[in-house]
Symmetry: C2
Subunit: 359 residues, 2 copies
C-alpha cells in the first residue's frame, strides 16, 4: 500500500518524530505526571527555552500555554483591549479574530480586502489600542509581507501589535521590536496533535492587562495574562494543562533545533518554489494568490477551477491528501501545507504528480 501523505493545512501531517516521542512519554509516565512536580517544571522550561531559541524570541518576551490559538484570540481581546481593536481582515481566520472582539462587546473596527488580495500600506490607521494582523491567512494562502507588519509599529508606536502566526511558524523570522504579541497552535507547523496553543507577549502586554485589572475591568480568571505569567515564572500553569502536548512540543523543538532553523527555512523556500512553479506552468491550474509578494510559503493554495474534484481524487489515488478549499472556495481550491513535517522528497513527489495531472 502507498504511504499516505497528508498536505491538509491543519491538523496536518505529524512531525516524523512525534510518534516516537509519544511512546517514550507513556514509558516515562508523562501522562500521569503531576503538573506541580519538579519533572513537569523541567519539561515546561525545556519547551519554553527551546521555543525562544528556535524562533529567536528576545528575553523580555514571556511564553505561556493555552488550549488553542482560538483561545488566544479571546484572551488577547479580554486582556489587552479595553474599548477598541482594529483588525486587518482578508479571509475567514482574520475575520474570526475581529468577530471575537465584537462578541466580547468591544467597539472594534476592521479594514477588509477581498480574499487573495494585498493590503495597501496606509498612513491612516485609526485611533485604537491594538492592531490585529494575521501573518498567514490559512483559508486563502495570503501571507503579510514583513515590511507591512513592521510598518504598523513604525506608524503607531503607542499601539499594541498582535500577530496571528498560526499556520506559519516556525518558518517566519519576525522582528520582535515591531510586535507585542504573537501566537500559534501546535497542530500546524510543529506537526503535533491538536490541543495546545502558545501565546507570546512582551512587558507592554503585561502592563496593559495589569492596568485594566487595576481599573476594575474583568480580564478573565484562570487564564488571564497576569495569572498565566505568574505561574509561567515558576514553570507552571494555573490549571492542569495538556501536559503531554507541552512535552511533545518540547521534544519536537529539540529535533528542529538539531536540524537547524536555517535548514528548515531553506527547505520551506525550496518546496514552496517548486510547487508555485508547477502551478504557474500547468495548463489548467494556477496559484490562487498571483501577487508573489503575498504568496504564503507555508500554505499554498491552488486555483483548480472545474478540475478541483478530479485533481483531488487523482492525488488521493497516489496517497497524497490535499486540503479542501476553505468555505466558499471548497469546490474551486485545493490547499497544500508546506510544513517542516513535509520532506523535500515528499514535496517533489507531490509536484511531479501535479505536473503529470492531465484532466
Amino acid at each position: 500500500m502507498k504511504p499516505v501523505l497528508n498536505f491538509t493545512p491543519g491538523p496536518s501531517q505529524l512531525y516524523f518524530t512525534a510518534e516516537d516521542h509519544m511512546r517514550k512519554a507513556f514509558r516515562d509516565g508523562i501522562p500521569s505526571l503531576s503538573h506541580r512536580s519538579k519533572t513537569f517544571e523541567s519539561i515546561y522550561k525545556e519547551t519554553v527555552e527551546g521555543l525562544k531559541e528556535l524562533i529567536g524570541i528576545p528575553e523580555h518576551f514571556t511564553l505561556v500555554f493555552t488550549s488553542s490559538a482560538t483561545e488566544v484570540w479571546e484572551r488577547i481581546i479580554q486582556n489587552l483591549v479595553e474599548n477598541t481593536s482594529h483588525h486587518f481582515v482578508n479571509g475567514a481566520f482574520s475575520k474570526r479574530f475581529y468577530e471575537i472582539a465584537l462578541q466580547l462587546n468591544r467597539n472594534s473596527s476592521k479594514h477588509e480586502v477581498q480574499e487573495g488580495q494585498a493590503f495597501a500600506f496606509s498612513d491612516a490607521l485609526p485611533v485604537t489600542e491594538l492592531i490585529a494582523l494575521t501573518h498567514n491567512e490559512t483559508s486563502t494562502g495570503v501571507s503579510l509581507p514583513m515590511p507591512f507588519i513592521n510598518s504598523i509599529k513604525e506608524q503607531k508606536p503607542g499601539v499594541l501589535v498582535a500577530v496571528d502566526a498560526v499556520s506559519s511558524l516556525p518558518y517566519p523570522e519576525f522582528d520582535f521590536s515591531k510586535i507585542d504579541t504573537l501566537f500559534f497552535s501546535v497542530q500546524k507547523g510543529f506537526g503535533l496533535p491538536a490541543g495546545l496553543g502558545v501565546w507570546i507577549v512582551n512587558n507592554r502586554c503585561l502592563q496593559k492587562a495589569t492596568s485594566m485589572l487595576a481599573n476594575g475591568i474583568s480580564i478573565g480568571s484562570y487564564h488571564n495574562l497576569p495569572t498565566l505569567h505568574a505561574h509561567g515564572l515558576k514553570n507552571q500553569t494555573p490549571e492542569t494543562p495538556n501536559v503531554l502536548g507541552i512535552y511533545l512540543l518540547g521534544k519536537v523543538i529539540q529535533d528542529m533545533l538539531r536540524r537547524g532553523i536555517a535548514t528548515i527555512r531553506r527547505e520551506t523556500d525550496y518546496k514552496a518554489a517548486i510547487l508555485y512553479q508547477a502551478l504557474e506552468q500547468h495548463p489548467v491550474l494556477k496559484p490562487f494568490v498571483m501577487d508573489k509578494t503575498i504568496q504564503s510559503k507555508t500554505v499554498i493554495v491552488a486555483d483548480c477551477g472545474e478540475f478541483t474534484g478530479q485533481l483531488s481524487d487523482y492525488l488521493q489515488s497516489k496517497g497524497l491528501f490535499p486540503g479542501e478549499g476553505y468555505g466558499l472556495f471548497k469546490k474551486q481550491h485545493l490547499r497544500f501545507a508546506n510544513f517542516p513535517a513535509h520532506s523535500k522528497e515528499q514535496f517533489e513527489l507531490l509536484v511531479d504528480s501535479i505536473e503529470a495531472f492531465k484532466p
Copy 2:
C-alpha cells in the same frame, strides 16, 4: 523492578487500556484528522453517546468539550450567571470556583465550612441565579451526600444547580432531575492524559445563556454555550479541539461500558471500604474525614500526622505512590485516588502495605 502504582488524585494512573488506544490512534492517523471530517464527527458522537450511557445522562442534556474543568468554572459563570452565584465552599477547589465568579466581577456569595466538615441542611438559601456545589472536594476527600445535593433544587426549584464532579465521575449516580449542569475532566476517574474537560448542561442552561446574550451581555466567544451547543449538534467543536483526547475518552468509555458501571461502582465501594477500615484500625493513622456520611469513595485522605513523610517514603519504596496532602495539609495528609484505573488487587496491595506500616 517493582511496578509503579500511582495513587495521586490527578493526573492519576492511566486507565489500563489507554496506551493501547493511543498506539492505535497513531496507526489510524487520528492526530492528523481534520476536526471537520466525517470520521471526527463519528468519534465525537461515539464519545458523547458512550458517556450518556455510562453516566445515565437523560436525552435533554447536552455534552460539550472544553480544555479543562477549570475552563468550565469560567464558562459556567460567564454563561449562566448575570449577577450572582452562591457557592458551597469546603476546600481549595470549591473555593476556586467561587473566586472565579469574583474575578468575572459577579456579586457572588459563599457558605464556607472548615476543611473536612459537612454542610448542614439549610432552609435559608440566598436569592441567587446559580448554586455551585463541589461533589468531591479533591483537596480534603469530602464528598457531598446525594440527599444534600438534591435538597438544593427541592428548596429552590428556580435556581440553576451546578455540580463539579471532577474527581468523582464515573462513580456517582446523580439524579439529573435535581441538577442543571455537571462537569469533570478526564485525567482523574477516566484515567486519561490531561487536556480535556466535559461540560454537561440541560435546556435551562441553554435558555439562560441565550437570554443573557439577547440582553447584550457578553457570554464569551468561541466557547460560549450556544456556540458549543450548535457545533455539538453537528458532532463538531467551534475550534480545533484536543481530537486525540476526545478519541481516547470515547475508547475508554467503551471499555468501561463492557466492564459495566455496576461493577465499577461495586469495586469502588469495596476498595474504599478496605482502605478506610485499614486507616481506622491503624495505631498511628486515621481517616481525615471522620464523618462517614461525607467520606469520599474516590479520593481517600489519610491523616498521618508526624508520620506523613515516613509513610510516604515507605509506600514509595514499595512502588506505591500516594498523593501529597493539599496546601496547608501537605505535611500531615496523604491522599489516595480510588479510580476505575486502580484494580482491586492494587488496592489490596496498598492496604496490606499500610497495615504493615510500623513507624
